[in-house]
Every structure is written in structure tokens, then in C-alpha cells.
């Protein structure tokens, strides 16, 4: 959270709504530990990261859906699977669980 505070504050000051995504669990090899955070504004601006770049696109999508009320706040999981070679996953072979929520607290 610490590293995305300045961006969050800038967006809040500009009247933007903000979603926060935090890594809450990992299995196997994963580039970022629990607590790694990403913030997304309702205009699609992004700060921070939750992986080495593997799943950020999908997390932004989930965050924008949460802000638009199209998705409930909750845990989104990303993992590597042989069956879904083109699905979103971590190239390092691990699984991460990301909690996505609006910053309404």
C-alpha cells in the first residue's frame, strides 16, 4: 500500500474513484509477496504491481469491473495451467490470489 499512496491521493484529490488490489496469498514460485498492492482509478490509471507483469492486465480489468459495480469485491486467483495455454497466469509457474475491492473504507 505504501508505494501506491501518492497516486491514490492524487486521484482522490481529483475526485476519482479508486480500486485497490492486494496479493493475499501465493503458492509455488511467485514474484511478489502477500501485501504487494496495485491501485486503479476509474479512468484506468494504474499504480503499483502484484506480479512481475504477468497478470496486471487482468487485475486492472477486474478492478474496473468492481468500480463499475459489475463484479463483487473478492479474491481473484491466477495460476498456470497446461490446459489453458493462453489463459492469464504466472510464467514462473506459481499461483497468486489477489483481493480486489473499491477504496470505500
Amino acid at each position: 500500500m505504501r508505494d501506491v499512496l501518492d497516486d491514490i491521493e492524487r486521484w482522490r484529490a481529483a475526485g476519482r474513484r479508486v480500486a485497490v488490489a492486494r496479493v493475499v496469498g501465493t503458492e509455488g514460485s511467485s514474484p511478489r509477496d502477500p501485501g504487494a498492492a496495485m491501485a486503479v482509478s476509474d479512468t484506468g490509471e494504474v499504480a503499483g504491481s502484484v506480479s512481475g507483469g504477468c497478470v496486471e492486465g487482468a487485475v486492472v480489468e477486474a478492478a474496473l469491473e468492481v468500480l463499475a459495480g459489475e463484479r463483487e469485491r473478492g479474491v481473484v486467483s491466477f495460476g498456470y495451467s497446461d490446459d489453458e495455454a493462453f489463459a492469464v497466469g504466472l510464467t514462473c509457474g506459481g499461483t497468486i490470489h489477489v483481493f480486489v475491492e473499491p477504496l470505500d473504507w
Binding site: M1, L5, I8, S29, P31, P34, F99
Partner: protein, 260 residues
């Protein structure tokens, strides 16, 4: 009192210890409890008994600097699975104290700031220890190293670092002698191998034991052939990371096993 987020923001900016518990699965997904040492928790997870148990566990996680997900019953019962709570500890940033306001110090301060350290530069010579020379340092102190460590040494722990760059026995012997009496995790001292040998004798004369001397990394840094102040700063900071994680600092190509 502002919202949970605003209180968290203010404490993080002040570098104060704080932990945030969030329900990530269960009846009140998103509910928050903010825990601060010595103060009442802020917010609620939706049940007073759950709040009490989670506040206690969160304080323990914060003291240990841990971040994890814990599982409870709806009223905080152990060994149940109704509520999943993500507990995130925000320990204050680690500290680095650099003794010696020399050319290498500016580069070390810059690299240490990138790594998230709260950096203090300390030198007894007022002309060198100035904020203008070290604009990125959180604090520039004009004092003798041993006197400064007598003031702040008790606050230093395993995540913190002391780097002695003075190049002058008059300053670096008292700095090292005072540093080994603290709980600081990393002590490094700059100097050639010849300087190091001479300094070892002086440190023994100052009463340091073999055990004390084994804590001092000197010559400071990993062997990456660093020459410039910037390269040397990378070499020192790489050694600090490796010391904390217990790694050797060899190329990953030449090692096996997990990287993280």
C-alpha cells in the same frame, strides 16, 4: 477521526507501525480492522468477538512483522473456516545509519532510499555533514558516531544496517565498537584489506571479542569489482540484502533451488 484508510495513510506516512485486517471471504467481505500498538482498534469485522480475537492476533503478527491469511469461526473460534482474514503488517521502514559524510556516502544514501531505508548520515565534522550534500537523507546528524549510537542504538534491530565509511581510525573505531553493542543486523566498514588488518588490531585494543569482530563485514560489500561510488553503493546494498536472506551472492546461473 477519519476513515480506516485515512488513518492507515497517515500512519504509513509517519513511518509508524500499523496492521490492517480485512475479511476476504465470509459474511462481511471487505470489512476492516486497523490495529495500532497501544490504541483501540479502528473499524469492525462485523462481530465483536471476532474483532477481539483478530485484534489480538493482528498485534502479534505486527510485532513479528508478518503478513498472512488466518481462518476463524464467525465469532472468532479457532480451527474453523467461516471467515478468512488477511492480516497485513506495516512495520516501520528499516533504518540505515551511515557514518562518514564522504563521496561514497551520497551514492549509498541514494541506493538505500530506493530500497526503502530511512537513512541517517552522521559525521562529527560539521562542514561535511550538511543537508545540502545529502538531500535524500532523512536525517543528517553532526555528532560523534559513538555518541549518536548511544542515543539511538537501542532502537536498532535485525532489519537495520550500520555502514562505516569514515576511512579514519579516529571515527571508525568508536563507530564499530558502539555498533557491535547494538542489535543491528548488518555492520559494514569500508577500507582496503590493509586498512582492515590495522583496524582489527585497534578494535581488539578497544575490547572487542572475536565474536564481536565476526559481525563486522570489512572490507564492506560484495565482490562485483565496484570502483565508482555508485557501483560501491550497489555492492554494499547487495551485501545487506544477502546478509538478511542468508544467501551467498553468487550468480543464479551457478546455483540451484528456489529463487525467492
Amino acid at each position: 477521526m477519519g476513515t480506516v484508510y485515512e488513518e492507515l495513510r497517515d500512519l504509513l506516512r509517519a513511518g509508524r507501525p500499523v496492521a490492517l485486517a480485512t475479511v476476504i471471504a465470509g459474511p462481511h467481505v471487505g470489512a476492516k480492522l486497523l490495529v495500532r500498538p497501544g490504541e483501540e482498534p479502528l473499524g469492525t469485522l462485523g462481530d465483536p468477538d471476532l474483532d477481539r480475537v483478530v485484534a489480538r492476533d493482528t498485534l502479534a503478527e505486527l510485532e513479528a512483522g508478518l503478513t498472512s491469511t488466518r481462518h476463524y469461526g464467525a465469532h472468532g473460534e479457532a480451527r474453523e473456516d467461516a471467515v478468512h482474514v488477511f492480516i497485513e503488517s506495516f512495520a516501520p521502514p528499516p533504518r540505515m545509519i551511515v557514518f562518514g559524510a564522504v563521496d561514497f556516502t551520497g551514492a549509498l544514501v541514494r541506493v538505500a532510499k530506493v530500497l526503502g531505508y530511512r537513512v541517517t548520515v552522521c559525521d562529527a565534522r560539521a562542514v561535511f555533514a550538511t543537508v545540502q550534500r545529502f538531500p535524500l537523507a532523512d536525517e543528517v546528524v553532526n555528532d560523534w558516531p559513538d555518541r549518536h549510537l548511544a542515543k539511538v542504538g537501542d532502537e536498532l534491530g535485525p532489519r537495520d544496517a550500520v555502514c562505516v565509511l569514515t576511512h579514519d581510525h579516529k571515527f571508525d573505531v568508536p563507530a564499530i565498537a558502539a555498533a557491535v553493542r547494538t542489535g543491528v543486523g548488518y555492520i559494514g566498514a569500508m577500507g582496503s584489506r590493509r586498512t582492515h588488518e590495522g583496524r582489527l588490531a585497534r578494535l581488539r585494543d578497544a575490547g572487542l571479542t572475536d565474536e564481536d569482530l565476526a559481525r563486522v563485514r570489512s572490507p564492506i560489500g560484495l565482490d562485483i569489482g565496484a570502483r565508482t561510488p555508485e557501483e560501491t553503493a550497489i555492492s554494499i546494498c547487495a551485501e545487506i540484502v544477502a546478509a538478511r536472506t542468508g544467501r551467498q551472492g553468487r550468480p543464479l546461473r551457478d546455483t540451484a533451488g528456489p529463487i525467492h
